[in-house]
């Protein structure tokens, strides 16, 4: 019976707490009497027969929608869009959820005599997926059947011939999406809802959109008014996407949304990695041996090997629910299922929040977590995993633990290098950055060329990473990174510290001595429900 998440008050008997530190771990002692640790829930039992559940969902739709069998007709134009490599994190063992869902959908399509089918990875301005990554997501059978004929594609947001302007929302936000999808009789969206930010109208309105569309909600003002962007009802990001969804619906674009949720079984409940999911006081002798062995082995390895080992990890997290049908109705149900796994009730806020950042973010799968992504992971994703209020008070201090190497992947993140070297050296203020630099990066021909033909994130993408931090930067009084490369941390505009103790010492200048501390024991994923 999986136990729910809970908040631990740290006392003198509390053992050292595990902090993720990039491709490595640290065990830190939090000061007794004024610290608390938020632990995630244990993984919910996955579905016993996922394929049967998928088939059931397809013919028993939620909301105002016919069953999929009724929507598939011979001679129709069908587009199947699916989430890209940013989900799930870490990548899951085969068979991937998308493979299961797409095979089930195609079986029904074959039975209905549908011939004109196209599959699109809905990656918006992310990088194109490689063959190996696509094979992992949709499976070899589907890949070999569609890719050689050019029927399995990466969405190209910079292809002027393959974008269709649909209309504008009541607030003047332009809606422009992939032309093939817009002109289809039906779009089937295959979604993985790892966190409550994903899914709903965001799938189509963002995943298949262009820069012209995205700039209306991927900007500083929207992110500052999303508190948080993990809570749809308090998020300007989602309000904008929902407005765009209405424009899509009204213009006749038909979407059959299939959403799935996963449990947070990232490291497994058995095996050498399972110690990372267990509560520290419940570590058995073999767990402690695993931990010590892993730490020692990792310290001896060169960085490249460490990175390879971690990036090759495929998590055993599995599907816990699947629902299909009308976008908004499906999404309400999905969100409730996500909350079931992630939400942990938390009382009040503290002065300081600490977090250990792991090696992976949505934007560095099979790649390097560069300093900008470190900032985005901590101040963007982890900070915003709350509902109500952040666990740290306004003007408080955020302490993150990560080596923050001054290293970039030149093929995946070329525009990030220029952003870090040329923009951040000028200013770290998101508003100035947006005003003075975004346009030149978004319209740069070389970045556009690399996005379209190589495997690079779009020129404007590092800006989005920085905007993702806007709410946190506004809310916090200081940001400290423990154990990071000093020059890189300074360039980000944060303060470097070598140990957690030094960081707490530095924080006392802002929040005083005897400050209260919250530590978020994430991963596995948790969302703080703060009252």
């Amino acid at each position: 019976m999986p136990r729910p998440g809970f908040v631990l008050d740290v006392d003198r008997s509390t053992p050292p707490i595990l902090f993720h530190h990039g491709e490595g771990f640290r065990l830190e002692r939090l000061p007794a009497g004024r610290s608390r640790v938020i632990y995630p829930a244990e993984p919910i039992e996955p579905l016993k027969n996922p394929d049967a559940a998928i088939r059931h969902a397809l013919v028993n739709p939620i909301g105002d929608s016919e069953p999929l069998t009724a929507l598939l007709k011979p001679g129709m134009k069908l587009t199947i869009a699916f989430d890209d490599i940013s989900l799930p994190l870490p990548p899951m063992k085969r068979p991937d959820i998308r493979q299961r869902v797409i095979e089930a959908v195609l079986e029904l399509a074959a039975a209905a005599g549908v011939d004109d089918v196209m599959l699109i990875a809905a990656l918006a301005l992310h990088r194109r997926m490689t063959e190996a990554e696509l094979r992992h997501a949709v499976g070899d059978r589907v890949y070999d059947a569609f890719a050689p004929q050019g029927l399995l594609l990466n969405h190209d947001a910079e292809d002027p011939d393959n974008l269709l302007f649909i209309g504008t929302t009541e607030k003047g936000e332009e809606v422009e999406i992939n032309k093939r999808a817009a002109e289809s009789d039906l779009i089937i969206y295959v979604n993985i809802n790892l966190v409550s930010m994903d899914g709903g109208w965001k799938s189509t309105a963002t995943g298949l959109a262009s820069y012209r569309s995205l700039r209306h909600h991927h900007n500083v003002r929207t992110m500052q008014h999303s508190r948080s962007f993990m809570d749809r009802h308090a998020s300007e990001l989602h309000s904008a996407n929902w407005r765009m969804g209405k424009v899509l619906k009204d213009s006749g674009v038909k979407v059959f949304q299939i959403e799935t949720t996963m449990n947070n079984n990232v490291f497994g409940t058995e095996g050498p990695m399972s110690v990372l999911q267990k509560r520290e006081w419940e570590w058995s002798l073999s767990d402690r041996i695993s931990m010590a062995g892993m730490k020692t082995a990792l310290d001896l390895m060169p960085q490249r090997t460490r990175r390879q080992i971690f990036q090759n990890w495929q998590a055993p997290h599995a599907m816990t629910s699947v629902q299909a049908g009308e976008v908004e109705a499906v999404h309400e149900l999905t969100t409730a299922n996500v909350y079931k796994q992630h939400l942990v009730p938390v009382e009040g806020q503290t002065d300081i929040m600490t977090m250990g950042l792991p090696y992976i973010s949505p934007y560095n799968v099979n790649s390097i977590l560069n300093p900008i992504l470190v900032a985005c992971l901590g101040l963007g994703y982890f900070f915003n995993l709350y509902r109500g209020k952040p666990p740290v008070r306004e003007g408080g201090v955020l302490i993150m633990s990560h080596p923050t190497p001054w290293e970039f992947h030149p093929v995946h993140h070329p525009s990030y290098i220029d952003f870090f070297e040329q923009v951040l050296s000028e200013t770290t203020d998101p508003i100035r950055i947006e005003a003075e630099f975004e346009k030149s990066f978004a319209e740069d021909e070389w970045y556009r060329h690399l996005y379209r033909t190589s495997h690079a994130y779009h020129g404007v993408h590092p800006f989005y990473m920085w905007y993702w931090c806007s709410h946190a930067l506004q809310h916090l009084g200081q940001v400290i990174i423990v154990g990071g490369d000093v020059r890189a941390v300074r360039r980000l505009g944060f303060k470097p510290a070598s140990t957690l103790q030094d960081a707490l010492e530095m924080a006392s200048d802002v929040v005083g001595r005897d400050a209260t501390i919250t530590h978020i024991h994430n991963p596995p994923i948790l969302m703080a429900d703060v009252h």
Binding site: T130, R141, P148
Partner: protein
């Protein structure tokens, strides 16, 4: 009756010529003669007097061979060793097998019946190494009694190394059925070649209903398997195997519907294997659509003369286009 190669007088004459003590030579000569006598009496069959009817011994080989001993732990361990140390390396060296579709088995709990097309002797060892865990360790094979269980040497060999139980080709014997059902109930998975024999020209023969019958009776799902290339590894009729490439393709498991009988389920199994074959010769999506439309090409090949059938079989597989630059 065996004759001793040397008799007493010959022995003594040889002894005489050797520089040995005469007494010793005589003793040796006498001993060899008595050994020969004892041997003759043991090895010679007694003659049967007239008027007496000799009882026919029940053969303990062939279809009646008891293979239970081959499923206890020491035997299973021995089989594991043989499979890992002997069979697997040889199979990999000769057939460089590619295994496709094993992920379709991921959700199955409990035993299954693998039904595969049959072209060569290489099929069985290939399957033994290709079937994934956990079914691989608890797998028994229905093997032709008249080929694999002919005598007291081949019977234990087949039972131990292959994990086979004897099955008669044309008629379904009681013992084979009972043993199979018992084993399926105990959680053992079964490998069966429903054609009954290796194909003469590469096309499949009609699938017999044995697998269907067992599946319905035991309620165990059937996994259709299509083997490619094994007839090039060990062609029917040649003495020794040679190097070639083989592929094992697992299809989605199917279960008998309550309305189906042996015949119709057997046809459905054959159709499932045919769809797996179609997947490989075209692609999965094509195979799905042809199956839905009922136009999956039959495993038994076109109704035509033998050369045309061989010709049609060797048509090159459609290859997908490739970009000139290798993808990152």
């Amino acid at each position: 009756m065996a004759r001793m190669p040397i008799n007493r007088s010959q022995t003594t004459s040889v002894m005489k010529r050797l520089p040995i003590n005469r007494v010793v030579a005589n003793t040796v000569g006498r001993t060899s003669a008595s050994v020969g006598r004892i041997a003759r009496s043991v090895l010679r069959e007694p003659t049967v007097p007239a008027g007496v009817h000799k009882e026919q011994k029940v053969s303990t080989v062939g279809a009646n061979y008891d293979t239970d001993w081959a499923r206890n732990y020491p035997a299973r361990f021995a089989r594991l060793l043989v499979r890992t140390i002997v069979i697997k390396p040889i199979v990999e060296a000769l057939a460089s097998p590619t295994i496709i579709g094993a992920d379709r088995l991921a959700d199955i709990d409990g035993p299954v019946i693998f039904t595969a097309n049959h072209r060569s002797h290489a099929d069985t060892p290939l399957m033994m190494t290709a079937v994934p865990e956990p079914w691989r360790d608890r797998l028994f094979i229905g093997a032709a009694a008249d080929y694999w269980f002919t005598n007291r040497i081949s019977s234990p060999f087949s039972a131990l190394v292959i994990g086979a139980i004897p099955v008669e080709r044309k008629k379904v014997s009681r013992t084979a059925i009972d043993t199979s059902l018992e084993l399926l109930a105990e959680g053992w998975s079964m490998l069966i070649f429903p054609e009954g024999a290796r194909s003469p020209d590469g096309w499949a023969q009609e699938f017999t209903a044995g697998a269907a019958f067992l599946a319905i009776k035991s309620g165990v799902p059937v996994v259709p398997v299509f083997l490619i290339g094994t007839d090039e590894v060990w062609p029917k009729g040649s003495k020794l195997p040679k190097r070639a490439e083989a592929t094992v393709v697992f299809g989605s498991p199917i279960t008998a519907l309550p309305t189906e009988d042996n015949r119709s389920f057997a046809r459905r199994i054959e159709g499932a294997v045919a769809m797996v074959a179609d997947e490989q010769s075209t692609d999965w999506w094509q195979a799905q659509r042809r199956a839905a439309a009922g136009t999956t090409p039959s495993l038994q090949g076109p109704p035509a003369a033998s050369w045309r059938r061989s010709w049609a079989r060797s048509e090159p597989r459609r290859s997908g286009g490739r970009r000139t630059w290798p993808s990152v």
